[in-house]
Amino acid sequence: MALLELRHITRRFGDLEAVKDVTLSVEAGEFFTLLGPSGCGKTTILRMIAGFDEPDEGELFLDGQPLAGIPPEKRPVHTVFQSYALFPHLTVAGNIAFPLEMAGRTRDEIRRRVGETLALVHLEEKSAAFPHELSGGQKQRVALARGLVNKPRLLLLDEPLGALDAKLRERMQVELIALQREVGVTFVFVTHAQQEALALSHRIAVMNAGRVEQADVPEALYSLPKSRFVADFIGTINLIDVDVVESNRHGLLLRAAGIGDIAAPAHPGIAAGRHGALAIRPEHLRVSPHSESAGLKNHFLGTVSEYLFRGDVTIYTIRLDNGLSLEALTTNAAPGRARFHEIGDRVRVEWRHDAGIYLAD
């Protein structure tokens, strides 16, 4: 049985349907992420799990027990807030001891558990400090420690890394994964940063306008998106409008206006005549000088119109002769040479017939 279950949850604010018929389940020990742009309903879901909000329709279950009507303080669910929400008048140790005191633990147990948890987040020497004396990363760790100390069934994290700078963010991501593995508490993480979600999560639910578009493991979301929104939201992707010309178990033949025919992997249940999009990742495109002969099934001529040099990789924008622009990513692995094409160069863009994925409208 799943640890947390959401069944057909709908939540309205006036005319706005913030969450529309969401059904999800989270397994014990999982690092589960709700990913989506701001206003997609992910924080509303988090607040309903924590008990600060109730669904208009549908039910939530924790360990098989319905959560309806149970106030936040009675739920074995703790939250790490985006602003950390540390109590400014309590020390680090006082903050971490708070949930234990509320649970009526003995003085000895509180002292021991606070000590253990401080060690877990490497803040032993800050135990007597007040929140305003801490750096952003330290506050973050206190908030985590406070959320974990009383061993909740579920820890909710509301964009907890949002306020940190890029470098620190990356380090905290690594710490967060290690911490979750160490304590074994189930995490439900909310973020709008897709790379963060991909790096941290066991499973991700991609949300858009109140609905779950797709819930799956990060690898599947990246390589097998089921909708344009997911394809576009996770990573970078080229979307080409196509009509299905032929469909059989070996593959699809697609036709893009002005470009020509494109071979794509088979997509069961798609009949000829349908309209959709071919989604293909920049790293699946190969860029070579147009003088070299084509080696792959799908190949088109174009001109380099833009490039972004990132050190390890270069991202080229290539304008095909019919006007369509594609992004192609090349690794800069060749020794002694970092980049291969200049703006204005005539190039050939190619990709394998089994790369890319057809997305129905």
Binding site: V77, H78, F81, Q82, L86, F98, M102, A103
Partner: protein, 258 residues
């Protein structure tokens, strides 16, 4: 350079205008003469005389009692109003609570008098003064408490609930400790407002009831005696002390945990 000089003289003149009258009162309370005319010599006999003045002592006792009790009740109600205004943002409450703060004192005095006499048929005296003082103090306390809450991260209170605290525990452990400086400042504010209130008290005091400001007023109807200077000096000292404490408690902004 010239601009600096202008600024300095403007500052000096302003301060002189504000504080010389007060200084004169203090100075002449120690003057060894019946007349507030010229400096004769140092004495503390006016203070000694005050201590022997039964009416004056009774008025002082009344004032202290009224100030203590009214500010306590006003603080309790004002704190609740301040929290309510912050948390639920009821549209009418700020208007209701803050009107007495903005209302001209004389208007408040007259309307309270009419209300106590015509509507409640109350005998004017200690009780009516208490009610009046509570009325005009609540708003000040509420403003201070609300301002205190307004500067805080809302999620702190949700975090407390989330971590297992009932609403009452959240108030006791988190909300109250955080607003306590505001509550103390509000209390001291209410106390000072009460102890030197004249206008409203004058309307609702009734016959035979006197407070320190009323007593001073009735004394200067005859003449500004050195005794008036002495009692004014004492009142001033008390008020200044309370204001100093209030601003010390309320002014340093609480360092926030966010």
């Amino acid at each position: 350079m010239k601009r600096g000089l202008m600024l300095w003289s403007a500052t000096l003149v302003t301060y002189a205008f504000l504080y010389i009258p007060l200084a004169v009162v203090v100075l002449f309370s120690f003057n060894d003469s019946e007349l507030n005319a010229s400096w004769v010599g140092f004495t503390t006999r006016w203070y000694a005389k005050l201590l022997g003045d039964e009416t004056m002592l009774q008025a002082a006792a009344n004032s202290l009692f009224i100030a203590l009790v009214s500010s306590l009740i006003a603080t309790l109600l004002g704190t609740m109003a301040g929290i309510a205004m912050h948390r639920w943002r009821p549209p009418l409450l700020p208007f209701l609570v803050l009107t007495p703060v903005a209302m001209p004192e004389i208007l408040l005095g007259v309307s309270l008098l009419l209300f106590f006499r015509q509507v409640l048929d109350l005998t004017l005296g200690l009780f009516s003064i208490l009610l009046a003082h509570i009325t005009f103090s609540i708003g000040f306390v509420a403003i201070i408490v609300r301002a205190r809450l307004a500067g805080m991260d809302e999620s702190i209170f949700e975090a407390a609930r989330d971590l297992g605290a009932t609403p009452w525990k959240t108030f006791v452990r988190i909300t109250f400790p955080l607003i306590v400086p505001g509550v103390i400042a509000g209390y001291l504010m209410a106390f000072t407002l009460s102890i030197d209130d004249f206008v409203i008290t004058f309307f609702v005091a009734g016959v035979g009831m006197s407070t320190l400001p009323l007593q001073i007023y009735s004394m200067i109807k005859v003449a500004v005696t050195p005794e008036v200077n002495a009692v004014s000096t004492l009142l001033m000292a008390l008020t200044l002390t309370l204001i100093a404490i209030a601003s010390r408690v309320a002014l340093p902004p609480l360092k926030r945990g966010t």
